[in-house]
Amino acid sequence: MPSDPFHPTKTSLGLGIPLLAKRIIACLDVDAGRVVKGVRFQQLRDAGDPAELAVAHARAGADEIVLLDITATNEGRKTLAETVRRAARDLFVPFTVGGGIRTLQDAAQVFDAGADKVSINSAAVANPALIGEIAGRFGSQAVIVAIDSRRGTGSVETAEVFVSGGQAATGRKALEWAREAEERGAGEILLTSMDRDGTGLGFDCELTSAVASSVSMPVIASGGAGNAQHFVEVFSAGHADAALAASIFHFATHGIGELKQMLLRAGIPMRWPC
C-alpha cells in the first residue's frame, strides 16, 4: 500500500506531542465517607461527597483519581467498600484506593468494589511480601507503594520513611525502600514529601528526582502543590511521571483544565482536551 501513510517504518506520529503525557492526579482524602484534606496531616476540612467529587474531577480533566481512606475508627472504615463502589460507578479513568489495606483479602475487596489499583503504605513496610502477593494476583500495574518521607534539611539520601499517617519513623531510607518495592513487584511509587505536604510551597523536586532515577517504574509526586509553576518544576526538574494534589482542586484554587493548559504552554506533555 504505497499510498498508505500508516506504515511500520514511520517512527513518529507527527502529532506535535509524540510523548507519553504527564499525569495530573486528583486525590480525595476520605474520612468516614466524606472527603477531607489535611494540612500537614492535621486540621481536617470537610470538602464533600467522594463519588461526586471523583466524577467532577475526572470530567474537569483529572487523568486519574486516588481515594485515600484516612478513617481512624473501624466503625467508619466499614463504609469504604461502599464509597469505592459509588465512586467507581461513573468513573472511566484509572482509580486507585489506599488507606488501611493490610492483606491480600483487603486488596481483593477494594478491587471487587471497582478500584483499578491499590496504594499500600504502612502494611507494605510491616510486611514487604504483601507487595508481591497483590502483584502476583492482580498484576504489578495494580500495586502502588506509597512512601511518606521526611528529610528536614538533610540530603535526599537521608530521607526517611514514615508510616501510620506520618506518625511513626521506620528507620528505612526512602530511596532504598523504593528500589526494594520495585524488586518486589510494585508498579508505581507514590512519593509524599511530609516536609511539603499541605504547605503550598511546592513539591520536593530534589527528592522526587532522586527516587525517579533510582527506579524504572513511574513515580507520582505528592505534597506541596500550591500553584501551576510547582507542577512545571516537578515534571521538569523533579522528573516525576505524575503529580498528585488534593486541596488545590477541591477548593478550586486552580481548575484542572486551567492547570493543564498552563503546563502545555510550558512545554509539558498533557492529555488535553479531555
Binding site: 502483584a135 498484576g139 479531555c274
Partner: protein, 195 residues
C-alpha cells in the same frame, strides 16, 4: 449478552462496569457454556503473559470456537497480545496466532512499564475506532507490546511504533484500556457493542 472471559488474570470489574454503563448486558464468566451462548466475547487481561496459560489450559477451545463462529471478539491488553503468536515474556505459553508476530519488551531507551495516557494514530476505515480521531489519548499500562502488522488499525509511538489496535473480520484487539480511557475509550466500547 456479552461474555467477559475470566481466566484468573486480574481485576476485570471495570470492563463490566463500562459495558453496563453503555447499556450492554455483560456477564463475567469462566464457563464454556456461557461463552458459547454469548453474542459477543470480551477478553481482558493484565499482568504477565504466562497467565494466558490458564486460558490455554481451560478455555482456549471455547474462545477459539466463538471466534470461528464469527462472534465479535475484543481482546484487551494481554487479551490482545494473546491473539498474536506469543510473547517473549513467556515463550512457553503460546498465543492464538490469529495475527502474525510476537510481542516483545520495550527497548531499554524508554522507561518500562509504559504507564499513562498516550496518543494513537488511527488508520482510516477502522470499524472499532470509528469516531475516534488520531491524536486521541488512551490509557496504557504494559511492559510488552505487539508489532505493527498489516491488520494494525492504530499505533502509538513509545520506543518506536507498536500496535495500539488490530482488527480483522470479527476479531478486534486493543493494547490500551478502553474502560479507563474516558470518552475515547467509551466510544470504542460503544462501537463494539453495536457490532
Amino acid at each position: 449478552m456479552i461474555a467477559i472471559v475470566d481466566y484468573g488474570a486480574g481485576n476485570i470489574s471495570s470492563v463490566k462496569k463500562a459495558l453496563e454503563h453503555l447499556g450492554a448486558n455483560a456477564q463475567v464468566t469462566s464457563d464454556p457454556a456461557v461463552i458459547a451462548a454469548a453474542q459477543k466475547v470480551v477478553m481482558p487481561g493484565v499482568g504477565h503473559f504466562s497467565r494466558c496459560q490458564l486460558l490455554n489450559d481451560h478455555l482456549r477451545a471455547p474462545v477459539l470456537d466463538a471466534i470461528t463462529s464469527r462472534k465479535p471478539f475484543l481482546g484487551i491488553c494481554v487479551g490482545m497480545q494473546w491473539l498474536f503468536a506469543g510473547s517473549t515474556e513467556a515463550p512457553e505459553t503460546p498465543g492464538a496466532a490469529l495475527f502474525s508476530g510476537e510481542c516483545s519488551r520495550f527497548p531499554a531507551s524508554v522507561k518500562s512499564p509504559h504507564v499513562g495516557w498516550n496518543q494513537i494514530e488511527v488508520r482510516p476505515g477502522s470499524r472499532l475506532l470509528k469516531g475516534v480521531n488520531s491524536g486521541a489519548f488512551v490509557y496504557y499500562t504494559h511492559s510488552y507490546r505487539a508489532p505493527v502488522i498489516a491488520e494494525t488499525t492504530a499505533c502509538t509511538n513509545y520506543g518506536g511504533p507498536f500496535s495500539a489496535a488490530v482488527e480483522r473480520d470479527n476479531v478486534f484487539g486493543v493494547q490500551f484500556h478502553p474502560e479507563k480511557s474516558a470518552e475515547a475509550g467509551l466510544k470504542i466500547l460503544e462501537n463494539f457493542c453495536a457490532f
